[in-house]
């Protein structure tokens, strides 16, 4: 089946010049960085809906808006990949928040509705931030920047090469996160059932959950590091070659 292709003018990466692209991206992400849009929408909805319902609906609405803006740039398949990772992280975070509320009630507010709204906000925040930040980073082309730098001379060339390398690494780190789900599945085929593990027969069922959490987080961090650092030597070599070719082209250099 052929994947649906969005029109080119809807893709943020095609926006020119770069500062307009940056401005549009910042404008799209503004509800994630400021409470003002959420407060405005909630107050507008509060006129026709009960207050709590308005506060409940505002974050899903903002999240859908962000997804709608990211969809043409990312495409359906990639957005779904990112959302799978984002859902896993959002569920883990909110579940741990809810579990902590039971274990350490002193650190939570006395108002359970405010607590629930806060956890829900964190949940939707992660669902929106993840695809948005990857769309932001991937909207800028490293190869375009590098092609321009190969023709550039002067003091900005070095800074530009460092910037290109940083951008490429940020794009790569974004691609690593969805892959962590595969690593998780390979290492934890039982997923949410650590009590069923055959190799943990002698361990108390109460100790299995914290053990599983600690092991899972450590596996996740190790996988994150390995996948992140793996291509760095290649990227560094590529940048160094461009840097060296620029030095050898320099007419003043003996």
């Amino acid at each position: 089946m052929r994947a649906f292709e969005f029109p080119a003018f809807l893709k943020l990466q095609n926006l020119r010049p770069w500062w307009l692209k940056m401005a549009v991206l910042v404008l799209i992400g503004y509800p994630l960085f400021s409470n003002r849009p959420a407060a405005f929408i909630a107050s507008a909805m509060g006129q026709c809906l009960p207050e709590t319902l308005g506060a409940l609906l505002v974050w899903p609405l903002i999240t859908f808006f962000i997804w709608a803006c990211c969809l043409p740039s990312l495409g359906t398949a990639k957005l779904l990949d990112y959302l799978a990772a984002a859902y896993a992280m959002a569920v883990t975070t909110t579940l741990s928040g809810a579990a902590l509320r039971g274990l350490l009630p002193a650190i939570f507010l006395s108002d359970p509705v405010a607590d629930n709204l806060r956890l829900m906000r964190v949940y939707f925040n992660i669902l929106a931030v993840f695809p948005y930040s990857l769309t932001f980073v991937n909207s800028f082309s490293v190869s375009d920047l590098m092609a321009r730098l190969t023709k550039t001379r002067g003091k900005f060339r070095g800074a530009g090469l460092h910037l290109a390398l940083a951008l490429r690494i940020c794009q790569h780190v974004g691609e690593v996160i969805p892959k962590l789900l595969l690593v998780w599945r390979e290492e934890n085929p039982e997923l949410l059932l650590p009590r069923c593990r055959d190799d943990w027969q002698g361990i108390s069922p109460l100790a299995r959950w914290p053990m599983w959490v600690v092991l899972s987080i450590s596996q996740w961090i190790f996988a994150c590091i390995i996948l992140t650092f793996e291509p760095i030597p290649v990227m560094v070599n590529e940048i160094e070659q461009i840097d060296e070719s620029g030095d050898s082209d320099d007419p003043d250099k003996v």
Binding site: T93, F108, R121, F222, I232, E240
Partner: protein, 193 residues
């Protein structure tokens, strides 16, 4: 501490660790409503950066990685985080120094100092600086000494997980370059047989 001769390799590793700090801080976050803050595991990479690459990298990774994460959902904590987490990475790197002698004592002391500075730093900001600023700028009026005292426990757990995780990762990183019988610089730049 590893001395990376290639300027691009150093940039690459610092950017990667900064991005990993931001990601782990954003994605594994447990809200602490008493102080409007949250628990996270980003300190693992800050301690790692300080131990592995020294005070400058430790500061950059801690300050920028964590501040980027705070920009998402908790912007009022950006000034505190920039200073506290930056200092955490810096002090870790300063104390660790050139700890390639094989002894674990100095890195452990360095990581402990980093973790403790984070707990003390946030207590200072939440108990005194933010309430003081809050009397003049309402935005900072989000916490008080009582709430800061309550947050000591999650902050201490966060600090401990950062110390243990950071030390474990640092040991794994340095061991992997030694197993390959190459220098850390070659390991990072990929210029080895």
């Amino acid at each position: 501490m590893t001395r990376i001769k290639s300027k691009f390799a150093e940039t690459a590793v610092i950017v990667a660790l900064t991005a990993l700090t931001a990601i782990t801080t954003i994605l594994v976050r447990v809200p602490i409503p008493a102080t409007n803050g949250y628990f996270n595991i980003g300190d693992v990479f800050i301690i790692l950066a300080g131990l592995w690459l020294g005070p400058r990298a430790g500061f950059i990774v801690g300050a920028f990685g964590s501040a980027i994460a705070d920009a998402v959902g908790f912007p009022v904590y950006i000034p505190a985080t920039f200073i506290v987490k930056g200092f955490e990475g810096w002090i870790t790197g300063i104390i660790a120094g050139n700890s390639r002698s094989g002894s674990l004592v100095r890195p452990i002391i360095a990581a402990l100092a980093g973790g403790l500075s984070m707990v003390a730093g946030y207590y200072l900001f939440e108990a005194f600086i933010y309430p003081m600023l809050g009397s003049k700028i309402p935005m900072f009026n989000i916490t008080d000494p009582g709430a800061a005292f309550i947050a000591l426990l999650p902050n201490a757990i966060q600090g401990m997980s950062g110390i243990v995780g950071g030390l474990a990762l640092w040991k794994a990183m340095t061991a992997s370059s030694q197993d390959l019988e190459i220098s850390d610089d070659q390991f990072l730049s990929g210029k080895h047989g």
